[in-house]
C-alpha cells in the first residue's frame, strides 16, 4: 500500500462524499482538491459551484491557491456574481457543501468567529465567509478539521454556521433552516456522521493507524461509537495520483 499523509487521506475521504451528478458548493483549499479528485474518479458528472462566482464541470488540474485563480476560470460554465451562485443554493439546488471549521461541537455547529466573548475575544477567527450560507442552505454539508480536543468541543461558544443546533429533533426545521445540515465531520483521526434526522455525531470510521480510544481522548465530548464502526479505507493509488497532481505545486 502506498504511503500517504493525513491531509491526503482527508482529501480522499472528502472526495468520496461527492456523488456522481451532484452540484457541489466547493470551498477553498482541501475541498477544491477533493472536488477535482471526485470528478476524475467516481463522479465524472458532478458540477462545482464557487462562491466567487463560478460554475465548472471538470476541475482545474494545476494547483489553486484560491477558487478565483485564473486556471479555475478557464473552461468555466458560468462566470457571474456571487449573489447568483447563492440564489441557486437558496433554491435548494446545491446537494453538498464543504465548510472549513476551527471549532465544532457534537451537534455539528461550527464556530469560525470568536473564541471567548465576542466583545473581547481570546481568539478572533476569520468569520463566516460563505460558511453560514452553506450550513443553512445546502442540502447537506461536510466539514474538515484537525482533530484536537480544543477544536472538537462539547458546545461551541459561538455558532457561526449552524449544524443541528441543540440536537433536539427538528431543530433546523423549527428555526427555518432550509438545508439538511451536516452529514459528516472529517478529521485527521476519523469520520463522524450524523443521523439523517439530525442530532448528535457518531463515530463512523477510524483512520488507519488510529484507535477509537485515541479518538475518545482527543474529542471534547463523550463520543458515541457506531455499532459497526469501521476503518476508513485508505486512499487508492488513483486517488493519490489525482491528489498529488493538484497539491504538489503549492502546498506549504
Amino acid at each position: 500500500m502506498s504511503d500517504y499523509t493525513e491531509q491526503e487521506l482527508m482529501i480522499a475521504v472528502a472526495s468520496r462524499e461527492i456523488r456522481d451528478g451532484e452540484l457541489v458548493f466547493v470551498g477553498m483549499r482541501l475541498p477544491i482538491i477533493a472536488y477535482g479528485v471526485a470528478r476524475n474518479t467516481h463522479a465524472p458528472k458532478a458540477r462545482g459551484l464557487f462562491e466567487v462566482g463560478l460554475m465548472r464541470d471538470h476541475a482545474a488540474t494545476t494547483y489553486l491557491g484560491t477558487m478565483g485563480d485564473p486556471p479555475n476560470v478557464v473552461g468555466a460554465l458560468w462566470a457571474t456574481r456571487m449573489s447568483n451562485v447563492m440564489a441557486l443554493m437558496a433554491q435548494g439546488h446545491v446537494d453538498l457543501g464543504f465548510i472549513g471549521g476551527a471549532e465544532v461541537d457534537r451537534f455539528g455547529n461550527l464556530n469560525t468567529s470568536y473564541v471567548g466573548p465576542p466583545e473581547r475575544p481570546r481568539v478572533k477567527l476569520p468569520g463566516s465567509g460563505g460558511g453560514a450560507d452553506i450550513a443553512i442552505l445546502s442540502k447537506r454539508w461536510v466539514t474538515l478539521m484537525t482533530h484536537e480536543r480544543r477544536r472538537l468541543v462539547e458546545r461551541v461558544s459561538f455558532v457561526t454556521s449552524p449544524g443541528h443546533g441543540d440536537g433536539s429533533p427538528g431543530w433546523r426545521r423549527r428555526h427555518g433552516l432550509l438545508g439538511g445540515g451536516p452529514a459528516a465531520i472529517i478529521t485527521t483521526l476519523c469520520v463522524f456522521r450524523f443521523p439523517s434526522e439530525g442530532g448528535e455525531a457518531y463515530l463512523d470510521s477510524v483512520h488507519p493507524g488510529h484507535t477509537v480510544a485515541e479518538v475518545r481522548e482527543s474529542t471534547g465530548w463523550e463520543v458515541k461509537v457506531d455499532a459497526d464502526v469501521t476503518e476508513t479505507p485508505a486512499p487508492t493509488v488513483n486517488e493519490l495520483r489525482e491528489i498529488r497532481l493538484r497539491a504538489a505545486a503549492g502546498s506549504r
Binding site: 477553498m28 464557487f50 462562491e51 466567487v52 462566482g53 463560478l54 494547483y63 491557491g65 484560491t66 477558487m67 478565483g68 485563480d69 485564473p70 476560470v73 478557464v74 468555466a76 462566470a79 457571474t80 456574481r81 456571487m82 449573489s83 447563492m86 437558496a90 468567529s113 465576542p118 473581547r120 475575544p121 481570546r122 481568539v123 478572533k124 477567527l125 476569520p126 468569520g127 463566516s128 465567509g129 460563505g130 460558511g131 453560514a132 450560507d133 450550513a135 443553512i136 442552505l137 459561538f158 455558532v159 457561526t160 454556521s161 449552524p162 443546533g165 431543530w171 433546523r172 428555526h175 427555518g176 433552516l177 432550509l178 503549492g250 506549504r252
Partner: protein
C-alpha cells in the same frame, strides 16, 4: 489620475470603503497600500473576503469598523493583524459587523435599490444575529440592512478615461458594491480608448455616472490574480501571512512593501513579475453588435 490623487481626493478619513469585492481576484491592493501611505484614519471597510488586504489595512491602524464576511489570509488562514486589533486593540481597537458572503451582497443590493433592507434565508440559527445590529430575524427570515459605501474601489482589466470598466472572470459582489456606492474609484491594467469599451456595452460593469476616478495602475491587484494579466503570487501572499505573525514582522513588511515604496510602479519592480505575468491568449469570441 494617479492613485495618490484619487485616494487624496475621494477617500477622506472616516469613509466607508468597499474594496476587494471580487473575493480573491482583482483585489485593489495598490489602492489599499495608498490608503496606508496617506495614513487614513477611522475607515469602515466593507467587503466579502478580501484576501489579506483588510488585514494589512487594519494592521496599519486605518480602520474603525469592519463590515465583512471573512478577514484573514486566503492561503494562510488567520489574519494576524485582525486578531491583534480585535483581541488586544493593537494598533487600535476595531468594531466588527459580522456578515456572510450572501448577507453582505444583500446589504449592498438593498443600498443599490435604496431600500432599508432585503430579506434573506441565510443566518437563521447563527449567533451572527446576536453580534451584528444590522441583521434582524423577522418571522422566519432575516432582514439584512442596507450598507451604503461612500466609495467603492475596484480593480479591472481595462477601462476608458470616462470610467467605462470592462472586468471579466468571477466578479463576486463588485456590481452591487459599485451601484450601492456614492462614488467609485476604478484602477485598471489597461487604459483603453472608448472604441474598445463601447464595442461591448454589456461588459461595462457600472454606469460612468458612478465613477469618480480612473487610475491606470498595472499590477494594481498584486499579489491577487487578474485573468489574462497576472497569476496569483502565492509565494508573496504566503510571505505576508508569515511575516505578519508578530507586530515587528508586520511593521517590517509594512515599511518594506508600503512606506518605502513611492507608488505601484516601484512596487512592481520589487516583485518577480516575469514569474506571474500571463502571456498566453484565450480571446473571447466576439459578439456582433451591428444594427444594420
Amino acid at each position: 489620475m494617479t492613485m495618490a490623487e484619487a485616494i487624496a481626493r475621494f477617500v477622506p478619513d472616516g469613509s466607508t470603503v468597499a474594496i476587494g469585492c471580487a473575493l480573491e481576484p482583482l483585489i485593489p491592493f495598490a489602492a489599499g497600500h495608498e490608503l496606508i501611505r496617506q495614513r487614513r484614519k477611522d475607515l469602515e471597510l466593507v467587503g466579502p473576503i478580501s484576501d489579506s488586504l483588510f488585514d494589512e489595512i487594519i494592521g496599519a491602524g486605518c480602520v474603525r469598523r469592519i463590515t465583512a464576511a471573512w478577514i484573514g489570509n486566503v492561503s494562510g488562514g488567520l489574519g494576524h493583524c485582525y486578531r491583534r486589533a480585535a483581541e488586544q486593540g493593537i494598533p487600535r481597537s476595531i468594531e466588527v459587523h459580522d456578515h456572510t458572503n450572501f448577507s453582505i451582497s444583500m446589504a449592498l443590493w438593498a443600498a443599490a435599490w435604496n431600500v432599508p433592507y432585503v430579506p434573506a434565508r441565510t443566518l437563521l440559527g447563527s449567533d451572527i444575529l446576536r453580534t451584528n445590529p444590522n441583521i434582524k430575524a423577522v418571522d422566519g427570515l432575516v432582514h439584512v440592512n442596507a450598507v451604503r459605501p461612500d466609495v467603492t474601489i475596484l480593480h479591472v482589466q481595462r477601462c476608458d478615461e470616462h470610467g467605462r470598466a470592462h472586468a471579466w472572470g468571477p466578479l463576486g459582489i463588485s456590481e452591487e458594491a459599485g451601484l450601492a456606492a456614492e462614488r467609485v474609484i476604478v484602477s485598471c491594467e489597461e487604459l483603453v480608448d472608448e472604441a474598445v469599451t463601447l464595442s461591448d456595452p454589456n461588459r461595462i460593469l457600472l454606469p460612468e455616472s458612478k465613477v469618480a476616478a480612473v487610475v491606470h495602475e498595472p499590477g494594481g491587484a498584486h499579489p491577487a490574480p487578474v485573468q489574462g494579466f497576472w497569476k496569483r503570487d502565492h509565494a508573496l501572499d504566503n510571505a505576508y501571512a508569515d511575516e505578519s505573525r508578530t507586530p515587528e514582522g508586520y511593521d517590517a513588511w509594512l515599511q518594506r512593501w508600503v512606506h518605502d515604496v513611492p507608488d505601484r510602479k516601484a512596487y512592481m519592480k520589487m516583485v518577480d513579475a516575469d514569474s506571474i505575468r500571463i502571456t498566453g491568449r484565450r480571446p473571447s469570441e466576439p459578439a456582433n453588435f451591428a444594427d444594420e
